[in-house]
C-alpha cells in the first residue's frame, strides 16, 4: 500500500535489501553514468519498508522523525478540538443555521478541520511506520489449500453414512413428499409480493386528456382547454400567435378533479408541448389535416424512447430534442424521428378552437411514452 508517500520515507536511508547484500549496490567503475539507472530496467524495490528495519537507526534522525510524528498528532488534536469548538460555539450563533451562506461557512469549517485532523493523523502514522518501526520483513509458507485425501475420504464416508442413517436414501416416499412440500412454500413469498402494485391493464393506453375531454363534452363543449404548465391559465389562440414559439401545456382541471396525490402521476403522462409551426413549413400528416390550429400543433412531451421530457425546441430547424438521449423529432412533419435512439414519433393530440381558446378534442390516439410489450 501507501507507496504514495515516498517523500516522507526518506530515500537516503539504507534499506533491508541493500543491507543484506552487504551494500552491494551497483557501482559504476567506468566513467559514463549508466542509462540503466534512470531507466526502470533495474527492478524496483517493491517492499515499501519501514526504513529502520534491521538497521542500527541513526539516533538523531529517529529523534527528528519522532518529533515530526508528534507534531502531526498535535495538529490532528488541535484540529479536532477546533471542529468541536466551532460546532458548539460558533456555528449556532445568531439563531443557528440559516440559508446558503451559513451552510457554506459551516461546511468549510467542519469539513476543513475534520479533513485536516484525519490527514494529519494518517501522515503521522505513516511516517511512524516508515521511519521508526523496526520490524523486519519475514517469510511465511503458503499452504496447499486443498484438503488431504484422507480427510476428503473420511468426510465422504461420514456424509454417506449420515444419509444412510437418516433414511433419506432408503425412503423415496419421504424424499419426494418433502420436495413436494417445499415447492409451494418457496413460491409463497412471490405470491405475497402481488400487492406491490396494480396490474397494467389498459392504464398505459390513455391519459387524462381523454377523461378531461369526456367531462367537457358532458358539459356540452367541444373539448377541453389547454392550460399552461405552472400558471394553469387557459391558452387563447391569440396568446400563441408567434410562429416558432413553444410552450408546455396540460389539460384543464387536473388539480380540481384528481385526488391530490395523483396529480403528479396524471401530469407525468398528459404533459404536452404546443408548437406554433410557420404555415409555409407545416406538413400536416395524412388523416390529421384538421388536428392543428393555423399551424399550432400539440405533441406528447414524453419521449417515446425511455420517457424523458422532450423539452428542447430549436426554432430555426423546428426540431424537438430530448436532452436525455438526444432523440430528435421533426415538429413540422408529425414529430417523426430524425435522429437518435427513439423508434416512434411523438404522439399527436388533436386540437381545435372553441370561443377563441385552443382545445383538445380527444385523447391521444396511441399510448404515449416508451414502448412496451403489449403496445402492439
Amino acid at each position: 500500500m501507501s507507496d504514495d508517500n515516498k517523500d516522507t520515507a526518506g530515500g537516503q536511508e539504507p534499506r533491508e535489501e541493500d543491507a543484506r547484500e552487504g551494500g552491494a549496490r551497483r557501482e559504476r567503475i567506468v566513467g559514463t553514468p549508466s542509462p540503466a539507472k534512470e531507466k526502470a530496467l533495474l527492478a524496483e524495490d517493491d517492499i515499501s519498508a519501514p526504513a529502520g528495519v534491521g538497521e542500527q537507526l541513526d539516533e538523531a534522525s529517529m529523534k527528528r522523525a519522532e518529533r515530526v510524528v508528534a507534531t502531526l498528532f498535535l495538529v490532528a488534536f488541535a484540529s479536532s478540538v477546533t471542529f468541536i469548538a466551532y460546532f458548539i460555539g460558533w456555528s449556532g450563533r445568531d439563531g443557528g443555521m440559516h440559508g446558503v451562506l451559513r451552510a457554506r461557512e459551516s461546511n468549510f469549517w467542519l469539513g476543513g478541520t475534520m479533513a485536516l485532523s484525519f490527514l494529519a493523523l494518517a501522515a503521522g502514522v505513516t511516517i511512524w511506520v516508515r521511519r521508526l518501526m523496526t520490524s523486519k520483513p519475514i517469510v511465511q509458507e503458503r499452504h496447499e489449500l486443498v484438503s488431504d485425501e484422507e480427510s476428503r475420504a473420511a468426510f465422504a464416508r461420514d456424509f454417506m453414512e449420515g444419509a444412510e442413517d437418516s433414511g433419506i436414501t432408503k425412503r423415496p416416499l419421504l424424499r419426494r413428499t418433502l420436495l413436494l412440500a417445499a415447492a409451494p412454500l418457496g413460491l409463497a413469498p412471490l405470491v405475497l409480493l402481488r400487492d406491490l402494485g396494480p396490474l397494467p391493464e389498459k392504464r398505459l393506453r390513455h391519459t387524462y386528456w381523454g377523461e378531461a375531454v369526456r367531462r367537457a363534452q358532458q358539459e356540452g363543449k367541444k373539448g377541453v382547454r389547454l392550460v399552461v404548465d405552472g400558471t394553469h391559465r387557459p391558452l387563447r389562440v391569440s396568446d400563441f400567435a408567434t410562429p416558432g414559439s413553444m410552450i408546455t401545456v396540460l389539460p384543464e382541471g387536473v388539480e380540481e378533479h384528481v385526488p391530490e396525490d395523483e396529480v403528479l402521476t396524471q401530469n407525468a403522462k398528459a404533459v404536452t408541448i404546443l408548437i406554433n409551426v410557420p404555415a409555409d413549413q407545416f406538413k400536416p400528416a395524412k388523416g390529421r389535416e384538421n388536428w392543428h390550429v393555423n399551424g399550432i400543433v400539440a405533441y406528447s412531451k414524453v419521449c417515446t424512447h425511455v420517457g424523458c421530457p422532450a423539452a428542447l425546441y430549436e426554432q430555426t430547424t423546428h426540431h424537438i430534442l430530448c436532452p436525455c438521449h438526444q432523440s430528435t423529432f421533426d415538429a413540422t412533419d408529425a414529430a417523426k424521428v430524425i435522429f437518435g435512439p427513439a423508434a416512434r414519433p411523438l404522439p399527436q393530440l388533436p386540437l381545435s378552437v372553441e370561443d377563441g381558446y385552443i382545445i383538445a378534442t380527444s385523447d391521444y390516439h396511441e399510448p404515449v411514452g416508451p414502448s412496451f410489450w403489449e403496445r402492439g
Binding site: M1, T32, A49, P50, L196, P370
Partner: protein, 541 residues
C-alpha cells in the same frame, strides 16, 4: 524489546476472552501474518474504507431524511425555494443541507465516498485482471468482487434517486422506461416497482428500504466473505525477489500492516472529508423539486451509470411490432448487452482461460501483463469498449465543448465502439510482445551500460552488463509457452482434450494464446540457476 509478557490490562483481557473462546491460538497464528506489498494492493483497501465511510455517513443521514412523497410546502432556511410545493423527501434533504449542522458535509462526503467506492472497485478489478490474480484458487473472490460492483451500481442509482430532485426524478423516469421495455413482464415490473403509474407515491419509500437495509446488508456480507477468503488464501504477490508459489514475503500484520492500513483508512476519510468540504457535489437545491414535465440539458448520471447512459444514447432506434406485441431493441440491447458482455465476460474469464490454457495449477504469484498478451489485450479491449460507451454518455457535452455536431459525435461513437476494441486488442498485443522481446534481449545480452569500447581494430561497440539480480528475477518470472501437445499422437490417437468440435476449438484457442510467445530465458552459463520462475516452467538451455 526486553518485555516478553504483555501489560496486565491486555494480558487480563486476552486471558478472559481466551478462557471462553480459545482465541489465543487464532491470534498467535495471525498476529504476524505476512502481507506482501505493492502500491496497487491499496486499491481494494480504498473500496473497503469508502464502504465504511458510506455506512457511517449514511446512518447520519437517515436520522433526518424522510422517505416520503407526500407533498409539502417548503418552509426552511433556503429562501429561494420557500413556498414551493415539493415532496417530503426533497424538503428533508434541503433540511439536512441547510438546517442541520454538518448535514451538508455528511451528504457530500456520502456522495463522494460512493463515487470513490465504485471507482476504486473498478481500479482494483483492473489490477486483479491484468496481473492474473483471479486465477485458481481465487476465482470465487473474483466473482464476489464483480457482483459487488454490479450491486453497487444499483445501490448508487437508488441512493441518488432518493432526494427526489429534478435530476434524480429524471433518472427514475429512465429506469422506468427501461423496465417497461422488457418483453412479457416489463409493464408488470413497472407497476409493481412503482406501485402504479410513474411516479406514484411508493417509489421513494421502497428505494429507501432497499438502499439503506437490503443492499448494504448484501454488500456487507459479500465484503466479509471477500476479506475472509483473502485472509485465508493469503494475498497474491508480485513476481519479485523472495516471492514464490511456496512462500510469501513481506511485513507482518502486527504492527506494520495494521498501522499502514489504519493510516490508509484515515487518508481515505481525510480525502473524502476534504472533497466534502471544498468540492460541491449534487447541489440538489439548484435542480429544484421533481416535475415530470421539466428537464435540464446536460443531465448526467453518476459516473458508474455513464456506460448505460452512453449505450442508450448511441443505439439506433430499432423496434419491431408484430402480432400485437412490441419489442424495443433500442432500449433492451443497450440496457443489457454492453454490461452483459463486460461483466458476464469478466465472470466467465477465469474459467475460459483455464480451459484454453489447460492450466489447473494454483497461482499465488502474479503475472506481469506483458507476459499474458492475449489476456492483457482482451482486458484493454474491454476497457476501450467500456470507456467509449462511458464517453458516449456525455456526447452532448462533448459535442458542445468541441463544437462538433451532435449527430457526428453520436456516429463517431457508433463506429468506434465496434472498431475501437479490435484496434485496442491488436495494438496492446503488439506492445506486450515488444516488451517481451525487450525482456528477452535484456536477459540474453544484458543492459546497455553507456560505455563505448574501442576494439584494437578501431571498431566501436557498447558494453552490455548483466542486469541486477532483482531485475533478473522479475524478467525471468515469465512462464514461457510450452510446446503444444500434438492434437494426435504418433499412432494417430487424438489427445483427450482435442476431440470433437469443442476440442478443436480448444486447441485452436490454445494455439492463439501462445503461438507468438517470445521466450525469455538465460542462455548463459548457469550463474543463477536457482531462480524461481514458476513451479514447472521449462527453461531451455
Amino acid at each position: 524489546m526486553s518485555d516478553t509478557t504483555a501489560p496486565k490490562a491486555i494480558e487480563g483481557t486476552l486471558g478472559f476472552i481466551d478462557e471462553r473462546l480459545g482465541s489465543t491460538t487464532f491470534f498467535r497464528r495471525n498476529v504476524k501474518k505476512v502481507f506482501p506489498d505493492h502500491w496497487s494492493f491499496m486499491l481494494g483497501e480504498i473500496a473497503l474504507y469508502s464502504f465504511v465511510i458510506l455506512l457511517l455517513t449514511g446512518t447520519f443521514l437517515t436520522l433526518w431524511f424522510q422517505p416520503s412523497m407526500k407533498e409539502v410546502v417548503y418552509d426552511g432556511s433556503y429562501t429561494k425555494l420557500q413556498g414551493v410545493k415539493m415532496s417530503e423527501a426533497y424538503a428533508s434533504t434541503l433540511h439536512i443541507s441547510f438546517d442541520v449542522r454538518g448535514g451538508l458535509l455528511m451528504r457530500q462526503i456520502h456522495h463522494w465516498a460512493a463515487i470513490l467506492f465504485m471507482a476504486s472497485i473498478l481500479a482494483h478489478m483492473l489490477r486483479v485482471f491484468f496481473t492474473g490474480a483471479y486465477r485458481k484458487p481465487r476465482e470465487l473472490n473474483w466473482l464476489i468482487g464483480i457482483n459487488m460492483f454490479m450491486i453497487g451500481m444499483l445501490e448508487g442509482l437508488f441512493g441518488y434517486s432518493l432526494p427526489d430532485d429534478l435530476l434524480s426524478g429524471t433518472g427514475l423516469r429512465i429506469t422506468q422506461g427501461v423496465l417497461e421495455s422488457i418483453p412479457l413482464v416489463g409493464t408488470y415490473g413497472y407497476m409493481f416497482l412503482f406501485g402504479g403509474e410513474f411516479p406514484g407515491q411508493d417509489i421513494i419509500p421502497r428505494l429507501y428500504v432497499l438502499h439503506i437495509l437490503l443492499i448494504p446488508g448484501l454488500i456487507l456480507g459479500l465484503v466479509t466473505a471477500h476479506m475472509m477468503i483473502m485472509w485465508h488464501q493469503k494475498h497474491t504477490a508480485m513476481p519479485v525477489k523472495n516471492q514464490s508459489e511456496k512462500q510469501v514475503y513481506g511485513y507482518p500484520f502486527y504492527p506494520v500492516f495494521m498501522a499502514k492500513t489504519g493510516a490508509y483508512f484515515l487518508f481515505t476519510f481525510g480525502v473524502t472529508a476534504l472533497l466534502g468540504a471544498f468540492a460541491q457535489i449534487n447541489p440538489i437545491w439548484l435542480f429544484g423539486p421533481y416535475d415530470p414535465g421539466a428537464i435540464s440539458s446536460g443531465s448526467q448520471p453518476d459516473w458508474y451509470m455513464g456506460v448505460l447512459e452512453g449505450a442508450l444514447r448511441i443505439m439506433p432506434g430499432w423496434e419491431i411490432s408484430a402480432w400485437g406485441h412490441t419489442v424495443s431493441f433500442n432500449v433492451l440491447i443497450p440496457a443489457t448487452l454492453p454490461l452483459g458482455i463486460v461483466f458476464g465476460g469478466a465472470m466467465a474469464w477465469p474459467f475460459i482461460e483455464a480451459w484454453i490454457t489447460g492450466d489447473k495449477r494454483q497461482h499465488h504469484v502474479n503475472t506481469r501483463p506483458r507476459n499474458a498478451p492475449v489476456r492483457t489485450a482482451t482486458g484493454i479491449a474491454a476497457v476501450t469498449f467500456y470507456g467509449l460507451l462511458w464517453l458516449a454518455g456525455a456526447n452532448d457535452v462533448l459535442a458542445e465543448r468541441f463544437h462538433v455536431s451532435l449527430f457526428a459525435t453520436t456516429w463517431f461513437f457508433r463506429v468506434t465502439v465496434i472498431l475501437g476494441p479490435i484496434v485496442a486488442f491488436i495494438i496492446t498485443k503488439r506492445i506486450c510482445l515488444g516488451l517481451q522481446r525487450r525482456d528477452a534481449d535484456v536477459i540474453g545480452h544484458g543492459v546497455e551500460s553507456g560505455v563505448i569500447m574501442m576494439s584494437p581494430e578501431g571498431g566501436f561497440s557498447e558494453r552490455h552488463e548483466a542486469p541486477r539480480e532483482e531485475e533478473k528475477i522479475v524478467l525471468l518470472s515469465k512462464e514461457n509457452a510450452r510446446p503444444e501437445a500434438p492434437a494426435r499422437d504418433a499412432r494417430g490417437v487424438p489427445a483427450p482434450g482435442a476431440k470433437g468440435p469443442i476440442g478443436h476449438l480448444r486447441s485452436r484457442l490454445s494455439r492463439a494464446w501462445t503461438f507468438d510467445d517470445i521466450p525469455v530465458e538465460e542462455h548463459g552459463h548457469g550463474e543463477h540457476e536457482a531462480i524461481e520462475s514458476g513451479s514447472d516452467s521449462q527453461v531451455k538451455h
